[in-house]
């Protein structure tokens, strides 16, 4: 490839491993802050361009940190097993936008059929457990205990 100079044609295509994963923050964050796990090679500028150009999200500020994955667990051969490191990015949205991480597993509304089935199942299990227990007059003492 010829040497690249500014303004010249870009003949090489780089395909870096740039990914961004939106995660639920472990500690409560302000309303305009979104938390991402990003590739270790991405910089703050890369993150800003990624969001602004691909997804049209206005970005006001980006802060990053690298989370060290612990190396304390041991496998069956007593070798240390490392959890991978990853980079976390806190992105503050511009133009007054806010973001709340959605609840991905909401409680489903149960219809009458499933509710009655659950009630029947609970009553059946209760009866079975009662059958297993011994004589209530013995006060929970097992039946092999005695003379």
């Amino acid at each position: 490839y010829p040497l690249f100079q500014r303004g010249g044609p870009q003949l090489r295509i780089f395909r870096p491993n740039f990914f961004m994963l939106a995660v639920r923050p472990g500690v409560p964050q302000p309303e305009d802050t979104v938390q991402f796990r990003v590739s270790m090679e991405m910089t703050k500028l890369d993150i800003r361009n990624y969001l602004e150009r691909i997804y049209n999200v206005p970005v006001a500020a980006v802060r990053t940190r690298i989370q060290y994955g612990a190396n304390n667990k041991r496998n069956h051969r007593n070798q240390r097993v490392k959890k991978p490191d990853y980079k976390v990015a806190y992105v503050q949205l511009g133009q007054g936008q806010t973001f709340q991480f959605p609840n991905l597993f909401p409680e489903k509304e149960q219809d009458a059929e499933t509710r009655s089935f659950d009630d029947f199942r609970d009553k059946f299990m209760e009866k079975e457990e009662q059958k297993q227990e011994g004589d209530p007059r013995r006060g929970g003492v097992p039946d092999w205990f005695g003379l």
């Binding site: 409560p28 964050q29 302000p30 305009d32 802050t33 206005p58 006001a60 500020a61 802060r63 503050q92």
Partner: protein, 460 residues
């Protein structure tokens, strides 16, 4: 057995009491046992409360203010460093919640009304105006007497000396001279990288303020007795709110959240007498924003170092212990062009406001601590100071009234008082400097600056 014995002892005692005074038992001359209070050294909440009470009593009983300050900041723990000049987004909302400040846009109503128009003739209009506890009132009250005595037809021409109004033309020429000298006449080399503010706007501001203060000190005796500090250091340390310690050997304990401001304004005027209050101590002019998140989300970082409370250049014994005006110069990092380039136009004003609120809170609170007030002994009179935040061309004016120092978790519960900050948006002083001329000079900004400098208590 012991109970039977006690009952046998009680019976004769009860009969003796009923014989002497039916109804009212006589109190003993001195208590037989010491008062039953919580332990001091136990690991319990009651013991912690007792230790805090003993600390508060020690500070209350301190003989001098230096001793009080020494005890107040004795214990060093990690604390959040609050920077008045910060690029953090929406920092002024966070700072208002840390300092319990209400932001009122515009200048206080007495200041806005008392600004005299330049070539206004006639003392009659001044007598019609309601008496205001502001700078021009003593001058205005004298003017009807002076002007009417020789002859009411004589319109007071703006001239230095006996006239009530400062000569705006003369002051404008002073400002333009300072500006041109720094930016046009003086031969300076190119500024070093990221040192633009020290190159031209810094010296211009110093020159402007010193010449204006000197020329207005004839009108304002407080300025004549003032002290102008160059690049002073203002520090304040306070507690606000509670948090649980996360890491370390103190994990799990409930601690107050500690803050420290270390600020260095470009210029500062300290005076021996305090500025008058703008509104009464208990007034409520708005709401304080409540932010539930930890301060580290702003972002704000913790550090442990000396807990300093300092007013700038002097310790407690100085006669000029009250503040008048501060002048702040914004650094290169917070230039307007940078915000516009990053499409963050709404953050430009936030920078001015956060600087005004944080710096003025630190200064007024340090002044209050120098008079012996602290969060257990709240201020009995409001402390007022003013500030001008500029980046060389755009000026924003702030006036702060400190009504309360009690911001800790216990003292803030029953405290209805709030601190108040009046602030304007940033306005340009001039448009451009070309060929030895200053184009588009804005007189309102200069008038507001002059009015700030002329501010003085009612007695003077």
């Amino acid at each position: 057995m012991a109970a039977l014995g006690a009952r046998r002892l009680l019976r004769p005692g009860r009969r003796w009491f009923s014989e002497t005074v039916p109804g009212a038992p006589s109190p003993p001359a001195s208590p037989l046992y010491p008062p039953v209070v919580a332990s001091i050294t136990a690991r319990s909440k009651a013991a912690k409360l007792r230790r805090l009470q003993r600390f508060n009593e020690r500070v209350h009983a301190a003989a001098t203010v230096e001793e009080k300050l020494r005890l107040y900041g004795k214990l060093q723990r990690p604390k959040y460093t609050v920077y008045p000049q910060t690029f953090a987004l929406n920092a002024d909302r966070w700072y208002r919640s840390f300092t319990k400040t209400v932001l009122v846009p515009g200048m206080p109503p007495t200041a806005a009304a008392a600004k005299p128009p330049v070539a206004m003739a006639g003392a009659s209009s001044e007598t019609g105006r309601a008496p205001e506890p502001r700078a021009e009132a003593p001058g205005v009250a004298e003017a009807p007497g002076v002007a009417e005595a020789p002859g009411a037809a004589k319109t007071p021409e703006p001239s230095a000396g006996a006239a009530p109004y400062p000569d705006i033309g003369k002051l404008r020429s002073l400002a333009c001279d300072a500006l041109l000298q720094e930016s046009f006449y003086q031969n300076k080399k190119r500024p070093f990288l990221y040192r633009d503010q020290d190159h031209t706007p810094g010296p211009f501001l110093t020159q402007l303020v010193s010449t204006l203060a000197a020329s207005l000190s004839g009108r304002n005796p407080l300025l004549a007795a003032s002290s102008l500090d160059l690049n002073p250091e203002v520090n304040y340390y306070w507690h606000h709110g509670k948090e649980v310690v996360v890491h370390g050997h103190r994990k799990g304990r409930v601690d107050p959240v500690r803050f420290q401001i270390d600020d260095s304004p470009h210029l500062q005027i300290r005076v021996p007498k305090q500025l008058p209050e703008v509104v009464p101590l208990e007034s409520d002019l708005g709401d304080v924003p409540v932010i539930d998140h930890k301060p580290s989300k702003l972002p704000l970082f913790k550090k442990q170092y000396e807990n300093k409370v300092f007013i700038g250049k002097t310790k407690v014994a100085d006669p000029c212990c009250y503040g008048h005006t501060q002048f702040h110069l914004l650094p290169d990092k917070l230039k307007r062009e940078r915000f516009i380039r990053e499409r963050l136009e709404d953050q430009i004003e936030v920078v001015y406001r956060s600087n005004g609120i944080a710096s003025l809170f630190a200064w007024t609170a340090a002044q209050a601590m120098y008079q012996g007030f602290w969060n257990e002994a709240d201020v009995t009179r409001p402390f007022v100071s003013q500030a001008v935040v500029t980046d060389g061309k755009y000026f924003a004016f702030f006036c702060y009234q400190l009504n309360t120092l009690a911001l800790t978790a216990e003292t803030i519960k029953n405290n209805p008082r709030k601190n108040i900050c009046w602030g304007t948006d940033s306005k340009p002083l001039y448009d451009v400097v070309e060929d030895g001329n200053v184009k588009g000079f804005n007189d309102e900004v200069l008038l507001q600056l002059v009015h700030f400098l002329l501010n003085r208590p009612k007695e003077l």
